[in-house]
């Protein structure tokens, strides 16, 4: 079942004298329950893609459907409503509110959607246990480690059971141990909860945890790899190969 369908996405920045086209008619389909990562060099448009897909930024042209709803035509209020119901976010710099405790941070999305308190508590206990952060629920973000922060952020993304979770370099600021911890948890949650995750990364190791890797280059899809029955190690090697072909900057003279 197709969860997210983007067709002919165009995104242009700047004014009419100085245009910069970042997305050039990109098509994309994500299926329910997939764990997909998007890779590409700096400036390839991967963060822009994530932003438009997640309704934070608007496309210049094209359509984006999530669970059959076209979000490109929605008004600001409708978008907020939509984000509240269907989307979860995970960021490189955690984006936790410093003045709230871990538990309060995690419960925010439920407070937006006005979920009853009892149910909120149950959901919190489950997700906090799964991510191993129940013990630190009364601590403030300043008092916990980076890995714990990112797991808190993940718990916040999952708690309202959104249709799709967008992750922007979630391991970017973590050490390798915390990063692999987090990625293991993410792929567990992907399995157990049938959660759909779309992750942007430039780290091949992180990408190797996914089921499918999409490479973009200069605003278009370059290629994609499926994990299939491969082990993570084998998949990682595949990714590395593709990436080296893709390269960073080409010097064509």
């Amino acid at each position: 079942m197709i969860l997210l369908e983007a067709a002919k996405l165009h995104k242009t920045y700047g004014n009419k004298f100085n245009k910069q086209e970042v997305l050039k008619g990109l098509d994309l389909k994500i299926f329910k329950g997939e764990f997909v990562s998007i890779m590409g060099a700096s400036g390839s448009g991967k963060t822009t893609l994530l932003n438009v897909l997640s309704s934070i930024d608007r496309v210049t042209n094209g359509s984006i459907k999530i669970e059959g709803n076209d979000i490109t035509g929605m008004k600001e209020k409708q978008l907020a409503e939509f984000r509240k119901q269907h989307l979860g976010f995970l960021f490189q710099d955690y984006n936790l509110l410093d003045t709230l405790t871990v538990k309060e941070n995690i419960l925010l999305p439920l407070s937006v959607s006005k979920t009853p308190k009892k149910e909120a508590d149950q959901r919190f206990e489950r997700i906090a246990a799964e991510l191993g952060i129940f013990e630190i629920k009364d601590k403030y973000p300043n008092e916990i480690s980076g890995g714990q922060k990112q797991r808190t952020s993940a718990a916040r993304a999952f708690i309202h059971e959104p249709s799709i979770i967008f992750a922007d370099e979630p391991t970017g600021a973590l050490d390798s141990k915390s990063a692999s911890d987090l990625l293991n948890k993410l792929s567990d949650l992907n399995q157990t909860r049938q959660a759909t995750i779309l992750m942007v990364t430039h780290d091949p190791v992180a990408a190797s945890y996914c089921g499918r890797v999409i490479f973009i280059k200069d605003g278009l899809i370059y290629t994609e790899l499926n994990k299939g029955d491969q082990t993570r190690q084998e998949f990682f090697k595949d990714i590395m190969k593709t990436q080296s072909v893709l390269g960073g900057v080409h010097h064509e003279r």
């Binding site: 984000r83 976010f89 984006n95 509110l97 003045t99 309060e104 959607s113 508590d121 973000p141 300043n142």
Partner: protein, 646 residues
């Protein structure tokens, strides 16, 4: 880009950001200049008659400088901290600290002296208006003319240049002390790190509320008879001040976060958007600004308190004049009265005349009056009392053996306690007449010549009895009160002119209520004028400081708004939260300030006038309304930031 262009660019940007600072600066300069102009104005001589006008204004202008200097250096500090990144960048590209300092100074110079010039111009144009306000409230007839005073200009320039130098010095020290790295970090350092509330903080929180409460309690007992000597009173006052001010500090340091924490604990992690934005941020921000908030609160309380008290006395002028002079014109010698009525008749002014015969006697009221403070009133067993007959002053019926007192005063009631009814005795020279006391009334039937309150109203037969047995040694020269009331108030000024023309006041205690009221107003007017403008300056500067603080915080919190909006909160949701937050941020210092001043005013207002509630409420409402403008501005600014945060 050359350095000059850089300066101009920065200036343009700053003007947009700091319009309020420019406004506050212009306002302070304008006010100061106007004050100094008044000081040099020949028209001041006319108000000089009341209190030493120029001297009072001079003292006020010194205070004004104090407030303005603190405000400007504080605002300047905030700004330079905000621009630390920029300064760091300049350093990074190889500018020397001295050069950066020069750039900042020139920029500051243009902004500062630009506002100064505008302020002087504004001050010059409003000084006439201010003069008119002053003449109006002091009831002095004078014509306000526009005088440009060179001396005033020089003084203003000197004072504000001194403040500018002070600002330069703080900037210099700031820049000298910082390294490139710390400049980049300064914003995150100024606000304290968020930590779990410790037990120690809870103790501070409870202590703070306790101390404020104790201060309030003692203040309400101040004149209730528990402190019987002047020394004790003095210590009680010092105690109240100390306990309330320290309590306020602890309140911001601990109590706010303590209370907020209790509320949050109850929510058990499930916070609504309002609570996310208000509770959680207030909890931590207030703590790091405890000193600033304490000063703002204390001085607001002082300003509101003084304003209330002066307004009470100004407001009570009418009532006081009415108590002292019960009719439009009162006479105690009938010759003058007859002369005056003739004058009125010949000028076709309609009036009514009321004559009351007034006797002096001694009252034994031991049974109904208890003393609260020993040294302050007469012995209740032998109080002097003014006696009039029910027939000549028929407000309320009294039987043959009854009496009621009239001329209630709040001040008197603070020093004595009185029962609602009971037996008293009125003594003449030889015999004493036992009477049943019925209660106390508010009205003052006769003028102050007859000794003020209380006045005993008795049955005609009793009155005759007292009259036969008079003690001549305590009688006044005149035993007749003659009150003349005009039927048409509009003719009062004309009648008053007639009254003054004939100088009836020379012939004894003949009085005009209008004059008595005006004298009182003149005495209080100048004080009120000065306190009012100082209060206004303070209001504006403290409002600005809070606004800048909020502006800073909002910009700091912008990332949070981004997160919240990504989570699906709408702009409207966030705005609601921000409104709640600003309501607290501005509301808590205001509420505490109002509460402080309420208790301060309540404990001693009766020394200043006859009416507590209306003047106090008027002052407080006005203050709150003006103060709210800054809250509105600050919400408007947050709105902009929220809009831009996604």
């Amino acid at each position: 880009m050359s350095v000059n262009q850089l300066i101009l660019r920065n200036l343009k940007k700053n003007l947009k950001n700091y319009y309020l600072y420019v406004f506050a600066l212009m306002f302070s300069v304008a006010l100061y200049f106007a004050f100094v102009t008044l000081q040099y104005d020949p028209a001041m001589d006319e108000t000089k008659g009341s209190i030493k006008g120029a001297a009072a204004i001079k003292a006020a202008s010194v205070l004004l400088i104090g407030i303005v200097a603190i405000f400007l250096t504080y605002a300047n500090n905030l700004f330079i901290k905000r621009r630390s990144k920029e300064i760091g960048l300049f350093q990074l590209v190889g500018m020397t600290k001295n050069k950066i300092f020069r750039i900042l100074s020139i920029e500051n110079f243009l902004l500062y002296y630009g506002s100064l010039a505008a302020g002087v111009f504004l001050g010059f144009s409003v000084s006439k208006l201010i003069m008119m306000v002053l003449l109006k409230i002091t009831q002095v007839d004078g014509i306000a003319r526009l005088h440009f005073s060179g001396a005033a200009l020089v003084q203003t320039l000197l004072v504000f240049t001194a403040i500018y130098a002070l600002m330069l010095l703080t900037n210099y020290i700031f820049i000298k002390k910082q390294s490139i790295l710390s400049l980049f970090r300064v914003v995150s350092n100024t606000e304290g790190r968020v930590k779990t509330i410790s037990i120690w903080e809870m103790v501070i929180g409870i202590l703070g509320i306790g101390m404020i409460g104790t201060g309030y309690y003692v203040s309400s007992k101040l004149f209730d008879g528990d402190f019987t000597s002047v020394n004790q009173l003095f210590f009680a006052m010092v105690f109240i001040l100390a306990s309330v001010i320290i309590g306020t500090y602890l309140f911001y340091k601990g109590s706010v976060s303590f209370i907020a924490n209790i509320i949050r604990k109850k929510k058990d992690g499930y916070l609504k958007i309002n609570e996310v934005l208000s509770l959680s941020s207030i909890m931590f921000r207030m703590k790091s600004n405890a000193w600033l908030l304490t000063i703002i609160t204390t001085v607001s309380a002082l300003a509101i308190g003084l304003l209330s008290l002066t307004y009470i006395s100004y407001y009570s002028a009418e009532q006081m004049a009415k108590n002292n002079v019960p009719a439009h014109f009162t006479f105690v010698d009938s010759e003058s009265a007859a002369d005056f009525t003739e004058e009125l008749e010949s000028n076709k002014i309609v009036f009514t005349e009321k004559r009351i015969e007034v006797l002096q006697a001694v009252m034994n009221a031991e049974e109904i009056i208890g003393l609260k403070m020993e040294e302050y009133t007469q012995d209740p067993a032998a109080m002097s009392v003014t006696v009039i007959s029910e027939k000549s002053y028929g407000q309320r019926d009294v039987a043959k053996d009854e009496v009621y007192l009239t001329g209630y005063s709040d001040i008197m009631m603070k020093f004595i306690s009185m029962k609602d009814s009971g037996p008293i005795e009125i003594r003449g020279k030889e015999e004493a007449i036992p009477l049943h006391y019925l209660g106390m009334e508010k009205e003052y039937p006769v003028s102050r010549y007859f000794g003020g309150s209380p006045v005993a109203v008795v049955d005609e037969s009793v009155f005759e009895q007292v009259k036969k047995d008079l003690d001549p040694s305590i009688q006044r020269d005149s035993s007749w009160y003659i009150g003349i009331d005009l039927q048409d108030e509009r003719e009062l000024t004309k009648a008053n002119e007639l009254f003054n023309e004939h100088q009836y006041t020379e012939a004894g205690m003949n009085e005009s209520r209008l004059d008595s009221e005006n004298i009182q107003k003149r005495q209080m007017g100048l004080t009120m004028f000065i306190v009012g403008f100082l209060g206004l300056t303070f209001l504006i500067t403290s409002g600005c400081i809070l606004y800048f603080k909020q502006m800073d915080q909002t910009e700091d919190e912008q990332p949070s708004y981004t997160i919240l909006r990504k989570l699906g909160f709408t702009q409207g949701d966030l705005l609601k939260g921000i409104q709640a937050k600003q309501a607290f941020n501005f509301g808590i210092p205001l509420a505490i300030g109002l509460l402080h001043s309420y208790f301060a005013v309540k404990s001693g207002w009766f020394f200043f006038g006859t009416e507590l509630w209306s003047p106090m409420i008027i002052v407080m409402t006005l203050y709150t309304a003006l103060y709210s403008i800054f809250t509105v501005l600050s919400v408007a600014h947050s709105k902009k930031v929220i809009r831009e945060s996604l």
